[in-house]
C-alpha cells in the first residue's frame, strides 16, 4: 500500500524525461503519411505538386514493400498501405520523407489524388442497423434453459447506442526507424504499448530485407489508453520502409488532427436487449442480447474486443436464461481498436441503462432492483464460470451507504418540485476480467528476466511499458517489497526487444495482475533458491556469483479452462469489481448536465501503491464519465471532430469531486486496475439524468443538443 513516488515524476516536472519527439539521430529526416480522403474508391492518379525537387523526397507505397503488405493482428486483413483501392478515409497510401518537416507538410497538403468513388458506409447507424454489413465470426454465449417465459413476466425491449471515443493521449503517435545496413538490423524507437507487436510489424513488412527488427521504447510514453496497442505496428512498418529506402534515420510524428482523424478509436456499438422479469420475485429471468460493434474497414483486433464485450454484456446480474450474440459490422471508416475497457464500457452502457429502465417501469428503487439481481456466490456467468465471491455486491452496498443514496433520492425529489433546474443521482456497476481472455495468457507464455549486479542492484527486464500509468514504479515495487530490498536498487529497464524477454503486451489490465504478481513470486523464488535473508549481504559475501541472470515464466492457473468455440468455461481467473453513484445538476436553460460528485468503490484486491492506484482510478473515472457526458466525436453529415477545441474532453474545471475507495485490499493478489475505472461510471450519468428529469436517453454522449432534442420530442408527443 506504500505510496512510493513515481520514478518519472521529477524528470517529467523538470522536462528531462524524453518523449519520442525529443530523440534525434544524425542525418535524420522526417516522414509523414499520405492518406486517403476518399471513403471508398479506386486510386486513378496521384499528382505531385509542381515546384518541388522530387529527388529530395523519399516515397514508399504498397509497391515498395519487400515483405508482406498485411499488418499482423488477431485477424490479418489490413494492409500497411492501400494498393489500388482505398476502403476508408484515412487509409495510408504512401509514406513520404524529407529533411525539412515544414516543407514536407506543405508538399503533402498539395498532393492531389484522383479517385473513382465507390459506395461507402460512413454513418455509424447506417453501418450497425444493416445486417448485410456483418463480417467476421459471430460469437455466441448460449446459456438458454429452454423454458418459455411465464405469461406474467414483464418484457422489456430496447436498443442502446454508444459512440466512438478518442484516446486523446497527450503525446501523439510517433516512430523513429534507423536502418543499420551492415548488421541488417532495423532499429525502431517507439512510443507504444507493445514492443513485440511493433517488432512483428516491422519484420512482416520488411520480410527478408532485414535480419531482425529491434524495438526500444522512448523513455517517456505520453499516454496510450489502448491507442498505442496496434496502430504503432503499422506506423513502425512504414517508417522502417522509409528508412530502408532513404538509408537515413526517419522520424514520423503525427499531427494532432491526423492522429484524431485516422488512428484507432473506441468501437461504436449498437446493443439490443430483451429481458423478461418476474414481477413477484423482481428477478430478471431471461435475457437476449444482440451486441454489435462498428469495426471500421478491417477486423484487425476487433474480434478480441467483441469477445470481451459479450463476456461482460450481462453486467453483474445473475440471469438464469441468457443468450448473447456478438457481431462485427464493416464500415468505410478507419479500423477501430483498443481503448481502455475494450468492449466492456459499451456492454455496461447498455445493461446498466436497461436495468434502470426495468426498475423505473416496475416502479422499483434502482438500487433495490440491482441488489435483487446482483451476482452472489453460487451464481454463474453465462459461460457457466462460477461466481466465487460477493465482492461486487459489497461494492454496491458500500457506495450506496457512503453516498447516502437513498436519502438523496428523497431530497432531490423534494428539491426538484420547486426548481426549474434539476438534481439527479444515479447508480452503475461494472467489473473487468484481468488479463487476456480465455486461454490467452497461456498462449502468451510471458517471461520476465532479472539481473542482479555485483552491487546488488536488481535490473528488471519486462516488455511492459510505462506510459504514465506508473507501471515501472509499481512493478519494481512489487519485486523489492517482496524481499525487502532498497527501492533505489531495483529498477525496471527501458523495454528493448533484444534485451527484454517477451512478457507480452501492456494491455488487458494485465501488467500488475500478471507481470507484477509474477515478479513478486519471482523475487520470493530467487530468495528461496539463494537462501538469503538480506540480498545486499548475500551479494557482498558471494561476489563471484554476480552479475547473475534469472528468468521465470508465467504459469496459468489450471482452473482457467475456456472453450473458445462454444464460449463455455472460465474466461478470466480474477475479476475486479466496482460500483458508482454520481450526482448531477441539470441546467434547464442550457440543457447541460453538470457533474457534481461521484462516489466510487472498487475492488482490485491488494493495492500495491495507493497514490498511483487512486490516480489511475480518478483518471479513468473522469474518462468514463466524459464518455457518457460530453466526448462527442462524430456528427452525422459533418464527420469527425478535428481537434481538442471541437472534441470536448473535460478540463479540470469540469471535474466533479471524485471519491475513490478500494475494498477487500487484504487480498494477497493485486488484480487488474488499468481498465475498470473506465468501464463502469458512464451509465451513472445517464441514470442520474433519468432520476432528475424522468427522461431516458439511449445514446451517449448526453450532450445538451441531444437532451434538447429529446425534451422537445417529448413535448411534441
Amino acid at each position: 500500500m506504500k505510496s512510493i513516488r513515481k520514478i518519472d515524476a521529477i524528470p517529467k516536472l523538470n522536462g528531462s524525461w524524453k518523449f519520442l519527439d525529443d530523440y534525434s539521430y544524425e542525418e535524420m529526416i522526417h516522414g509523414q503519411l499520405l492518406y486517403s480522403t476518399c471513403h471508398h474508391g479506386t486510386i486513378k492518379k496521384i499528382h505531385f505538386p509542381d515546384g518541388y525537387n522530387l529527388s529530395e523526397f523519399t516515397v514508399v507505397s504498397a509497391a515498395n514493400i519487400p515483405g508482406e503488405n498485411i499488418v499482423p493482428e488477431p485477424v490479418c486483413d489490413q494492409p500497411y498501405m492501400a494498393d489500388k483501392e482505398v476502403f476508408h478515409f484515412g487509409q495510408v497510401i504512401m509514406g513520404i520523407a524529407h529533411p525539412n518537416r515544414k516543407l514536407l507538410r506543405e508538399f503533402i497538403r498539395k498532393i492531389k489524388i484522383e479517385y473513382e468513388e465507390l459506395p461507402a458506409i460512413i454513418d455509424i447507424k447506417e453501418c450497425l442497423e444493416n445486417e448485410d454489413n456483418v463480417f467476421g465470426k459471430e460469437l455466441i454465449i448460449d446459456h438458454r434453459t429452454g423454458r418459455k417465459p411465464d405469461p406474467n413476466w414483464i418484457h422489456h425491449h430496447k436498443i442502446y447506442y454508444t459512440p466512438h471515443q478518442e484516446q486523446a493521449y497527450l503525446e501523439p503517435q510517433g516512430m523513429i526507424a534507423v536502418w543499420q545496413p551492415k548488421e541488417k538490423i532495423m532499429f525502431v524507437r517507439a512510443t507504444c504499448q507493445c514492443p513485440f507487436f511493433v517488432k512483428e510489424g516491422v519484420e512482416t513488412i520488411m520480410g527478408s530485407a532485414i535480419k531482425e527488427a529491434v524495438i526500444e521504447t522512448s523513455e517517456g510514453i505520453g499516454g496510450a489508453f489502448g491507442g498505442k496497442e496496434d496502430f504503432p505496428s503499422l506506423l513502425a512498418g512504414i517508417t522502417s520502409l522509409l528508412s530502408y529506402k532513404s538509408g537515413k534515420p526517419v522520424k514520423i510524428v503525427l499531427e494532432r488532427e491526423d492522429d484524431i482523424q485516422i488512428t484507432t478509436k473506441r468501437h461504436p456499438a449498437r446493443i439490443e436487449i430483451e429481458t423478461w422479469t418476474d414481477p413477484e420475485t423482481r428477478k430478471i429471468m431471461k435475457i437476449y442480447i444482440d451486441y454489435r460493434l462498428d469495426a471500421g474497414a478491417y477486423q484487425t483486433l476487433s474480434p478480441v474486443v467483441l469477445a470481451r464485450g459479450v463476456l461482460h454484456a450481462i453486467s453483474g446480474y445473475s440471469i438464469p436464461d441468457a443468450y448473447i450474440r456478438g457481431r462485427l459490422f464493416r464500415s468505410n471508416t478507419p479500423s477501430n481498436g483498443a481503448f481502455r475497457g475494450f468492449g466492456a464500457p459499451q456492454a455496461f452502457a447498455a445493461m446498466e441503462a436497461h436495468v434502470e429502465s426495468i426498475a423505473a417501469d416496475m416502479n422499483i428503487n434502482p438500487y433495490k432492483f440491482r441488489r435483487k439481481n446482483i451476482f452472489r456466490i453460487g451464481n454463474e456467468f453465462p459461460t457457466t464460470q462460477p461466481i466465487l465471491e460477493n465482492n461486487l455486491s459489497d461494492c454496491l452496498e458500500r457506495v450506496i451507504e457512503k453516498s447516502n443514496y437513498l436519502q438523496k433520492l428523497e431530497e432531490f425529489k423534494e428539491w426538484n418540485k420547486t426548481h426549474k433546474d434539476k438534481k439527479g443521482i444515479g447508480i452503475s456497476i461494472g467489473y473487468h476480467g484481468g488479463g487476456y481472455t480465455g486461454n490467452g495468457e497461456k498462449v502468451l507464455n510471458s517471461e520476465v528476466k532479472v539481473v542482479i549486479e555485483k552491487d546488488a542492484t536488481v535490473k528488471i527486464y519486462v516488455a511492459n511499458t510505462d506510459m504514465g500509468q506508473g507501471a515501472h514504479t509499481t512493478l519494481a515495487q512489487m519485486f523489492f517489497e517482496a524481499i525487502d530490498h532498497p527501492r533505489e536498487k531495483c529498477l525496471v529497464q527501458l523495454p528493448n526487444t533484444s534485451k527484454t524477454p517477451n512478457s507480452g503486451p501492456t494491455v488487458a489490465s494485465r501488467t500488475i495482475y500478471i507481470i507484477g504478481n509474477l515478479l513478486r513470486r519471482f523475487a520470493l523464488k530467487i530468495k528461496d533458491e539463494l537462501g538469503f535473508e538480506n540480498l545486499d549481504d548475500y551479494v557482498s559475501s558471494n561476489q563471484n556469483e554476480f552479475p547473475r541472470e534469472f528468468r521465470m515464466k508465467f504459469v496459468q492457473d489450471p482452473s482457467v479452462v475456456f472453450d473458445e468455440e462454444n464460449y463455455v468455461g472460465v474466461a478470466y481467473k480474477d475479476y475486479s469489481w466496482a460500483a458508482c453513484v454520481t450526482e448531477i445538476y441539470f441546467h434547464a436553460d442550457t440543457y447541460q448536465i453538470e457533474l457534481t460528485k461521484s462516489w466510487n468503490v472498487i475492488d482490485i484486491g491488494k493495492v500495491v501503491n495507493q497514490k498511483i492506484a487512486v490516480g489511475q482510478a480518478e483518471g479513468g473515472i473522469l474518462q468514463g464519465l466524459a464518455y457518457g457526458l460530453c466526448e462527442f466525436f462524430y456528427k452525422a453529415g459533418y464527420g469527425r471532430m478535428h481537434g481538442f477545441s471541437d472534441y470536448a474532453l473535460p478540463t479540470t474545471m469540469d471535474l466533479p469531486e471524485i471519491d475513490v475507495e478500494f475494498i477487500h485490499t487484504d487480498s494477497p493478489i493485486a488484480k487488474g486496475l488499468g481498465e475498470i475505472p473506465m468501464d463502469f461510471p458512464a451509465p451513472s450519468v445517464r441514470n442520474a439524468f433519468h432520476n432528475a428529469t424522468g427522461i431516458f436517453i439511449d445514446e451517449y454522449p448526453l450532450v445538451p443538443e441531444r437532451i434538447f432534442k429529446s425534451l422537445t420530442a417529448d413535448e411534441r408527443r
Binding site: 436553460d589 460530453c630 477545441s645 470536448a648 478540463t651 479540470t652 445538451p704 443538443e705
Partner: protein, 278 residues
C-alpha cells in the same frame, strides 16, 4: 511571409503607409498563429505590435476607461481600475479560454479577428464601447456597434489598426448585469451561444435593457428590436412569444460540427427569459 517588428509607433506607421490587404498584426498570436499553421493566411505581411507601449495599458481618461488594444486578458482580470469601475466586465472574462491563453490573448486581437464567437465583443457591445482606430495620418473614434460589416470583415482600412477600446466609466452603473457563455465544457471552450445583458427597472418596468449575443450571427451584435420591445414594459406585460419572434428576426444561428441551430436558438430564448426574470 514577411515579418516586421517596428521599434515604436513611428516605425509602425512607416510600415503601414500603403494599403496592403495581406497585412496582419501579430498581437498575442492566439488566433493568427493558428490561421498561419492551417494555411488560411499565407504570403502575408505580419507586423508585430504586442511590445508597443502606446498600445498597452489601462487608464482612466475623464469619463472613460481606455484599454490599449494589446492589453491581454490577464491584465484586464488583474486590473484595479477595471475592478472598481467595470466589475461585471472583469468577472465575465474569467471564462475566457484558460489562464494560459489569457496571458497571451489581447482585447484588440479578439475584436479585430472578428470571430462570431469572440467573447469580449458581446460584453463591450452592452457597455457601449467605442474603438479608437488610427492610421499614420488619422485617428477616428467609432462605435463598436458600427465596426463589423460581415463575417470577419470590418470597416478598418488596411493602413489602420485599433489603438484602444474606450468604455464609459459608468457603463455598468445602476444596472443588473448578466453574462452567460454556453459551450461544451467549462474552460477552453468556444461559445455556442453567448448572451450579455444589462437592465434596470423602475416602478417594476424595464427602463433600459441592453442585450448582445455572440455565436448566433456573422458577428456578435446587439438585439435592438428586442430591447425596444422590452423597454417600458413590466414583466407581466411581456409576451414571450413576441420576444421569440423578434429574436428570430435578429439572429441567424447555424448548425455545424459543434452545435445545432435549433439548440442555439432555444438556449438564447431561455437565457433572455432568465435574464429578465432574475
Amino acid at each position: 511571409m514577411k515579418f516586421i517588428r517596428p521599434n515604436d509607433m513611428e516605425g509602425l506607421f512607416q510600415n503601414m503607409e500603403e494599403n496592403n490587404d495581406r497585412r496582419y498584426f501579430l498581437a498575442g498570436g492566439t488566433d493568427i498563429n493558428v490561421q498561419i499553421k492551417n494555411g488560411v493566411i499565407k504570403n502575408a505581411e505580419i507586423i508585430y505590435i504586442k511590445h508597443l507601449k502606446e498600445l498597452n495599458g489601462i487608464q482612466i481618461v475623464k469619463d472613460d476607461i481606455v484599454i490599449g488594444a494589446v492589453t491581454n486578458i490577464t491584465e484586464i482580470l488583474n486590473s484595479k481600475i477595471i475592478k472598481e469601475n467595470l466589475p461585471f466586465f472583469q468577472r465575465s472574462l474569467e471564462s475566457f479560454a484558460s489562464p494560459l491563453l489569457q496571458t497571451s490573448a489581447t482585447i484588440g486581437g479578439n475584436i479585430a479577428n472578428g470571430s462570431p464567437t469572440a467573447d469580449v465583443v458581446p460584453l463591450l457591445l452592452v457597455l457601449d464601447a467605442k474603438l479608437e482606430i488610427v492610421s499614420k495620418t488619422q485617428t477616428r473614434i467609432i462605435e463598436l456597434n458600427n465596426f463589423f460589416t460581415g463575417y470577419k470583415t470590418n470597416i478598418m482600412k488596411t493602413n489602420e489598426l485599433i489603438r484602444s477600446i474606450i468604455i464609459p466609466r459608468k457603463a455598468e452603473n445602476g444596472f443588473d448585469t448578466y453574462f452567460e457563455k454556453v459551450g461544451s465544457r467549462k474552460s477552453l471552450m468556444i461559445s455556442k451561444v453567448t448572451l450579455a445583458g444589462l437592465k434596470n427597472i423602475s416602478h417594476s418596468k424595464f427602463t433600459t435593457v441592453k442585450l448582445a449575443v455572440g455565436s448566433l450571427n456573422e458577428y456578435p451584435r446587439r438585439l435592438y428590436k428586442i430591447e425596444e420591445y422590452l423597454t417600458d414594459k413590466s414583466l407581466i406585460e411581456i409576451n414571450f412569444l413576441k420576444v421569440e419572434e423578434l429574436l428570430n428576426e435578429e439572429i441567424t444561428p447555424i448548425t455545424d460540427l459543434r452545435s445545432d441551430k435549433e439548440y442555439r436558438y432555444h438556449v438564447c430564448v431561455n437565457l433572455i427569459r432568465t435574464f429578465l426574470n432574475e
